[in-house]
């Protein structure tokens, strides 16, 4: 029992380290979380929840990376977002009281805490600061979704791929050799950009020829951020 507890992250310190949204809770509420939550570990490829199912709680990521995606009618995944340490997933379904509109799968081995739906509801009810922060979070994600819609609707695949690479740099960072810290298959990249795997492959090797990136299997080294920005039209149409 003691040994087990040592491995389980405490919400208080986790919130501090990872900047999780639980930092807006009172000490007693954090205490309550620690008591109510369920600690879980997952390996790459594991599925946390599945689109269409009613879910009984939400997840706070302590470590690892998760992809959140929808499955199109022809079975193709569309990646909606990633979640990493300090972020929560599945709260949307809990709060809107709808079945899950996405599935979640592990990209990098994860340690997560599962928190029952009632707890989230009661926290929102009893802590108005926390409620506001949750609203802020949801509204921020909504803004990002709106940008994403506009990009997919208006930009070319080439522009979107460049943009996604920059987004991944921003979100997950580079190692000391300028390699992207997150490692995705070509298919996963395609499922973010909204294109075919082959298109990603071709464009990446174009980017390589243009000295924008270097490719080493699944690892991508960013050589020319400015160049990618120019292609992605984050600033202005080239």
């Amino acid at each position: 029992m003691k040994e087990k507890e040592l491995n389980i992250p405490l919400c208080g310190s986790c919130a501090l380290e990872n900047g999780a949204i639980f930092k807006h809770l009172t000490a007693e509420q954090v205490q309550m979380l620690n008591f109510e939550k369920e600690f879980r570990q997952y390996k790459r490829g594991d599925e946390l929840y599945k689109e269409g199912n009613r879910i009984s709680g939400f997840y706070c990521i302590h470590s690892g990376i998760i992809k959140v995606f929808k499955t199109g009618f022809d079975g193709k995944e569309q990646i909606i977002r990633f979640a990493k340490a300090g972020e929560i997933i599945a709260y949307r379904s809990v709060l809107s009281n709808e079945v899950a509109c996405t599935s979640a799968k592990v990209i990098e081995d994860c340690m997560v805490c599962f928190i029952p739906a009632e707890i989230l509801i009661s926290l929102v009810r009893t802590n108005s600061t926390y409620a506001l922060e949750m609203l802020k979070l949801a509204c921020h994600e909504l803004g990002e979704a709106n940008s994403f819609i506009t990009d997919i609707a208006q930009k070319t695949v080439r522009e979107r791929l460049a943009e996604i690479l920059l987004f991944l740099v921003n979100d997950f960072g580079l190692d000391d050799e300028n390699f992207l810290k997150i490692s995705l298959t070509r298919e996963e990249l395609a499922n973010i950009v909204g294109t075919a795997t082959e298109s990603v492959i071709r464009l990446l090797s174009e980017f390589k020829n243009d000295q924008l990136v270097e490719l080493n299997g699944r690892r991508i080294k960013i050589l020319d951020k400015r160049g990618l920005e120019k292609i992605s039209n984050v600033l202005a149409r080239s």
Copy 2:
């Protein structure tokens, strides 16, 4: 003064008629809203707010229709959603405390109430039921945005156009002759679907040839809902 007041909708009755989110407020809070809000009228083409600006409050639609859109780098509009009687817009920016990520323009002449940001914040803070309903709303919109992303990324223009027509039927209804109640330019339709105006025109006339719709200038008569559903792949790939 008296005459003016007669025209200004009262939040209490408006919430009842239009099912606005303010139905979750207490009587005193509704009273406060009536006192603090500012009544405004707009004509087609008027702009309520503009992307990139900080906004000092949000809008509750009493009548009329508004389009909420983002402007792509090349100036093309992407319509994100519509708002009609009983719905609120611009709350996203207020709650996330970010500048507006969209612009809003009038499609059909509107009567709206403008409510200062502080009021929204204080309502969320003091009324936990209302806070939960706001969360529900934001989370629901987030779910819709996710579906929209997947559709645009994976479906063809033809499929999307059929789907959007059905969406408009659902959201705005048909008149007694089965004409869509909302009237949009071809360009606006294109800016929802995420395509070129000419493509919408061509596809609409294909739909006409296939006896799915009838066209009368800007008015669109729905002849075969089932057929449109089949094309849109709401159910399964044809």
